[in-house]
Point group: C2
Chain length 211, copies 2
């Protein structure tokens, strides 16, 4: 069994990312950016809950914390899942294609693997969309000494979302079902435009709080 | 001696980021985002150099690779440096202030530590500005199968730059030298607006290449 990426050191992960192996790549980097965003929101919640000044928002931020920890676990898992789904695509491309029957089986396997491989970055996008919204709540209601950390969380989640979208799109390039491609592109477009607006609104409120 | 963060596992780093300790925080997360951007550019260069199809750009991308590896090392170092400089600010705030002399010494120490603490995220911003420019080169000239990774590199570096800027600004909030603050804010504003334009241009070219 391959050791889990999450158990490797940061230095080793960066070396692997930089190496001439195609995995881990941008999909895993996106998931880790998102996980850092979730973790930073958890930190701000942890440093707000229990303080007298913030008693009014304690219940709300406790609920946010439970959610950010859940999303962090999901994104940490996606660091590995992206590598696995890329491996499945590569295995499909490596299938024999000497006869017409083999060629058809291979084409079908590639198409299935590509559709599967799209699922991980697409889930990364949806999870990061939620992290951006939670960043705005934490920036507004959390410990004001840490408002920049809530701001970093939104920026990290937004970069992760946009990165996930690039990973969906590069896989869609080889998908032959045009209707499926069109529906995915439309879904992504909606997600990207909502996320941009939400991130800039959060960033504005963070900067205002630091003036 | 405290163990180096870069030697801790990704899972442990995320746990520490999420914990009720103020460090590591957004500054370290920003440096790691930037380091991932540099690492992804190194990967694309590594998977371009030596391929017959890309012989014309081999020398140029070899030079880019040397540079992205250097910037990756600097950013990896900043993951630690951000924690250290925050520690120095905290130690200054913890100085005694029972007499007027103590109070004056403490104020001076806080101001010095804040100015020092700004240097790490400010360097992160400048280094990430360079990574964004290198992303555009790699997206244009590197292995086209990996163009999405060059795109992720630009997005990661841009998020790191914006995050670094938030960390500079939250420290500037407590700096009393208004002239120094104004000059830093102006420098950041210039950097942020150049970086936004360069990132969006790179993103457009990446998306175009994937159509």
């Amino acid at each position: 069994m391959t050791p889990m990426i999450k158990q490797s050191s940061i230095e080793h992960f960066l070396d692997e990312l930089a190496s001439r192996n195609a995995t881990p790549g941008g999909g895993s980097a996106a998931a880790l950016m998102g996980a850092m965003g979730a973790a930073l929101l958890s930190m701000v919640c942890n440093l707000t809950i229990g303080k007298a000044k913030y008693r009014d928002v304690e219940d709300e931020l406790s609920a946010v914390l439970a959610r950010t920890e859940q999303l962090r676990r999901e994104l940490t898992q996606m660091i590995e899942e992206d590598v696995e789904s890329f491996g499945a695509v590569m295995r499909a491309y490596a299938m024999p294609r000497q006869t017409q029957a083999e060629s058809m089986l291979r084409t079908q396997a590639i198409q299935n693997a590509l559709r599967e491989a799209i699922q991980v970055p697409l889930r990364c996008c949806h999870v990061c969309r939620e992290i951006i919204d939670l960043s705005a709540v934490v920036a507004q209601k959390g410990n004001s000494n840490l408002v920049s950390d809530a701001g970093v969380a939104a920026l990290a989640a937004h970069a992760a979302l946009r990165s996930g979208a690039l990973n969906v799109m590069i896989n869609l390039k080889a998908v032959s079902d045009r209707q499926f491609v069109a529906s995915q592109v439309a879904e992504l477009g909606e997600l990207l435009s909502q996320a941009s607006a939400a991130t800039e609104a959060c960033d504005q409120s963070v900067r205002k709080a630091m003036r």
